[in-house]
Symmetry: C2
Subunit: 208 residues, 2 copies
């Protein structure tokens, strides 16, 4: 996952173009022109546009791993760590909203490029870091024993994606302008998901 | 929303074909051939393939409204009603998995056909039924006061869609076969979402 400066530049250029013109609407030629390298160089580095998208996604979630590792190592309660993890996940999603939409569409289409072993390894490594925090909380008696850790990222990412995919509907019913929706994603929605995770982790099972 | 028997038959044929061959891979001609009506009849009834999809979605969620109304009227505690609502939502999603995937893709593409007023009206009516149950629980002191009702369907639908969109990954990490994943969606996943909603509705806010 160690990219050279030039590779990182190509990845960043690709990200901006995918966000602006969509994945299908962007060609390797567009990317190489804007990154000021020749087409052969992009192909040499990444192989294909799909592989370039994969490199971009891996780069983004590898960065998440670092942040999660930092949170695991903090002098803080497991609850505070989970609150921080939620914030990091949702801010990352908000900052890369278009990118996640592209990934989601690739997944929904049943294309397999992004379902790669490398991608899944990083996802699983991130999940294991969350598991560490949950187990710490369970040992301290702060969290319930019966927690499906693999469904915690599912809850954060799924809720976020559904909200942004149905953005115009939610803006309408919550009476939010474009600007206040962006603000909502950063603040109130983060609080809502934090509250949801706290309920799930701390509330004793009942009636279920 | 009252469809004739013939219209319902066309809707059901369209649903089966969309699920089998995708929305883009299905033509009005395919639908009319299988429903044994002429092409002009389908166009006369529904206008376009997009409008036919809209009619199908409206038909499906109108059916949900009936089920939700029944739950609201039950002699049961608000908690039990929410547990039942979760079951109805998730079983409906599982039964119409392909259809929701098509809807999600239409939304993600930024196409506006499904963002129609009629669609949003039914969604909002369903949400109002859930709001009734939540307010009943709040009056009885069973639920917290500070609940974002508009985010409850978001949580159910978003988590479900993310799980099924990333199905191969989740099957791998949870070691589930195709059959046991289908079973998982019907039972354990429903319990997980029920537990999540109970935590959110009943657990006092803290640290957030």
């Amino acid at each position: 996952m160690a990219f050279t400066d030039k590779q990182l530049e190509i990845i960043q250029v690709a990200e901006a173009l995918f966000a602006e013109k969509g994945f299908d609407g962007t060609s390797i030629r567009d990317i190489s022109a804007k990154a000021d390298v020749n087409v052969a160089m992009v192909s040499y580095y990444f192989g294909s546009k799909e592989k370039l998208l994969e490199a971009l996604v891996l780069h983004r979630i590898a960065d998440m791993s670092l942040q999660l590792e930092n949170i695991v190592g903090l002098e803080a309660s497991p609850k505070d760590k989970i609150l921080k993890v939620t914030e990091v996940y949702l801010h990352k999603l908000a900052a890369n909203c278009d990118m996640y939409k592209i990934v989601q569409q690739e997944m929904a289409h049943g294309k397999r490029q992004l379902n790669s072993d490398a991608f899944n390894e990083v996802r699983t490594a991130n999940m294991d870091l969350i598991r560490k925090i949950v187990e710490e909380g369970q040992r301290q008696g702060a969290f319930q024993q019966n927690v499906k850790v693999e469904l915690l990222p599912n809850l954060m990412v799924g809720s976020f994606m559904h909200l942004t995919t149905n953005r115009s509907y939610y803006q309408q019913i919550m009476q939010l302008t474009d600007d206040s929706f962006a603000q909502y994603l950063q603040v109130d929605f983060v609080k809502h998901i934090q509250q949801t995770l706290m309920g799930l982790l701390c509330h004793p099972p009942q009636n279920v």
